[in-house]
């Protein structure tokens, strides 16, 4: 119920801002602000410092993906939370690549495409049911089309930057995400816990962002799998944090991620993974497991 209410609020914000801009700027430059309330605690400061140029490219690409034809409906993403926070998914791609070698151009565009895909998913995720509410129809039209536009732009980025080799993998990811949404809605109707399906979506996203970036960086095969598992755990933990779930049942994932960290080669990539884990731990009042070394020492 809490989430349902939140979703309505999000849609209302989208509508109010759209309405505001229609009045104030005329038809020539209409701006659609999609506000996605994801959270407020920055946990990726280290990554922002480490990858400033790469993140600038991803942000520019995301902004471009949100824009429609000039003179028609220009769309712009305005995100409430700190940029380092809303870019958690592409950050995972950058960190994964850096664990093996310097992120190349393809990794940056893969990370940008993951961000565009993530935003499309979040926007469609937030669309409420109407139940004969006519006004809602007007409120949901733009967000639905914005989500569709982002999925199309995601496809365009993949093709343009010759990442087609991952199209099947990414298309399967999209299919699985939406199947999980259907299952989640079904559980909700039955008053059962939807948590496993929500977290599955986060873990699938995290896993894919990490695995494909590692694959593009052509590291050793056993490391792909380690990084993939790391992404799975971090994605799930991110979901726990973002959705405000009780972390206790998922702490094993946090500890397991520390174990995986030990397998990764030392360097800035591994340090960034450690920073993410420490950030999450701080949020939940956890300390670094005593068996794990402090990589910054």
């Amino acid at each position: 119920m809490r989430e349902e209410k939140l979703n309505y609020e999000k849609i209302n914000i989208i509508y109010s801002l759209l309405y505001f801009n229609l009045i104030n700027q005329g038809e020539e430059t209409i701006h659609l602000f999609a506000i996605i309330e994801i959270g407020g605690v920055p946990m990726l400061e280290k990554i922002v410092l480490e990858f400033a140029p790469e993140i600038a490219v991803i942000q520019a690409k995301t902004q471009k993906a949100m824009q429609s034809k000039a003179g028609h409906v220009a769309t712009l993403l305005s995100l409430k939370e700190a940029p380092d926070d809303y870019l958690w998914l592409p950050s995972l791609s950058l960190v994964s690549a850096k664990t093996l070698k310097e992120p190349n151009t393809k990794v940056i565009y893969l990370a940008a495409s993951m961000q565009v895909l993530y935003l499309a998913t979040r926007i469609h995720w937030a669309i409420p049911e109407d139940k004969d509410c006519l006004k809602l129809k007007e409120q949901i039209q733009y967000p639905i089309l914005l989500g569709d536009l982002l999925y199309s732009r995601f496809y365009a980025i993949i093709c343009r930057y010759e990442l087609d080799q991952y199209l099947a993998y990414l298309a399967t990811l999209i299919g699985n995400i939406h199947q999980e949404h259907v299952l989640r809605n079904e559980k909700r109707k039955l008053n059962l816990s939807e948590e496993p399906h929500v977290l599955r979506i986060y873990s699938l996203l995290g896993e894919t962002a990490c695995y494909l970036a590692a694959h593009l960086s052509a590291g050793k095969t056993y490391l792909y799998e380690t990084i993939k598992q790391m992404g799975n755990h971090l994605g799930m933990l991110r979901g726990v944090w973002e959705e405000g779930y009780d972390p206790y049942p998922y702490l094993t994932k946090w500890y397991r991620a520390w174990e995986l960290l030990e397998v990764l080669p030392p360097g800035p990539g591994r340090e960034c993974f450690q920073a993410i884990l420490l950030g999450l731990g701080r949020k939940w009042g956890l300390e670094r497991p005593p068996v794990c070394k402090d990589l910054r020492a």
Binding site: H72, D148, Y155, H178, Q179, H181
Partner: protein, 322 residues
């Protein structure tokens, strides 16, 4: 219109079987909704164009059928989302997925269908096909955004209308014609010609569709007459009357259409006004001119049974009543 596709009748049946088999994967409700969508029928013109266009190259039916099905999946995905956007309850005479399962489900099932289409297309390992379809997908969304941004706006001109219908319909039909030929490795010159043919025919198809929205009966349309108008979508017959009708007619139209809160009676009056005006023959004439352009493109294609089929299809679109 099946008689027009006798060249590819068997393959179209296989496309249908492929779609039915393909959508069996996934959650039970998703499966049911896809079967519901498939059973609602449809003209299947996009897969038909893929199949016919492929016959200009090295035709291999087992290779081309999945691609034809993928194009229909993309089209189905857009229909499912359109019904949520328009709050449509009926399509093709049947309950829409939105009406049956709700907004959330429809959105996820549309996205799921799009993802399934991409999975099929990926098998062709063709950057050319991917680039083309990605471009078309982006433009289709731009067209939809433009359509809702211009809803209830009566100051539109024909250029705005053409911009919208090109993106709404013509680009995907044009892409269907091209990718069939690309996948069959047809001559690039043929690919381009088929692309233009598809574009002109798509424009004619949409204009005719918009005219039928006023003049066909509800049973034939499978949805209420004047549905576009009820959604605030200003189509060619309305644009014509607003620009070229007599002053009294223009004034009456402005008064009746200038608000989303127009009554059902007002809309009914507008539909009647348009039916009796010059707007219908004018719009059909424009559609006819696009068909002529499409037919002109066919002149440079090899004179064979396939070109003959494409010719018949164009003529059918000019005369269609459903």
């Amino acid at each position: 219109m099946n008689h027009l596709f006798y060249e590819i009748e068997g393959e179209l049946r296989q496309v249908e079987e492929y779609l039915l088999k393909y959508v069996q994967a996934g959650h039970a409700d998703l499966r049911k909704s896809f079967v519901h969508l498939l059973r609602a029928g449809g003209k299947r013109i996009r897969p038909a164009f893929v199949l016919l266009a492929a016959k200009y190259g090295q035709y291999n039916s087992s290779k081309i059928i999945p691609l034809a099905a993928a194009l229909e999946l993309i089209h189905m995905a857009t229909l499912v989302h359109d019904d949520v956007i328009d709050s449509s309850i009926i399509r093709r005479g049947r309950q829409t997925v939105k009406a049956k399962y709700g907004n959330n489900f429809s959105l996820h099932s549309g996205d799921f269908l799009f993802a399934k289409a991409l999975t099929i297309i990926e098998n062709y390992k063709s950057n050319h096909i991917n680039q083309l379809l990605a471009h078309v997908s982006v433009e289709m969304c731009q067209g939809e955004l433009e359509q809702i941004a211009s809803a209830y706006k009566l100051e539109q001109n024909i250029r705005n209308y053409f911009y919208r219908i090109k993106r709404k319909t013509s680009l995907l039909i044009s892409a269907s014609c091209q990718i069939g030929a690309i996948a069959a490795q047809a001559d690039p010159h043929i690919v381009k010609t088929l692309g233009r043919y598809g574009h002109y025919l798509g424009m004619a198809f949409q204009i005719t569709d918009d005219v039928l929205d006023f003049i066909a009966d509800e049973k034939t349309l499978g949805k209420p007459v004047g549905s576009d108008l009820r959604q605030g979508i200003i189509t060619l017959p309305v644009i014509y009357l607003l620009n070229c009708g007599n002053e009294e007619m223009k004034k009456s139209l402005w008064e009746k259409l200038n608000s989303p809160a127009s009554s059902q009676d007002d809309l009914h009056d507008v539909v009647e006004l348009i039916k009796q005006s010059e707007a219908i023959p004018y719009s059909l004439d424009i559609a006819g001119r696009y068909v002529e352009k499409a037919l002109k493109e066919l002149e440079v294609l090899p004179a064979n049974e396939i070109t003959e089929s494409l010719h018949k299809l164009a003529v059918f679109i000019k005369r269609r009543q459903f």
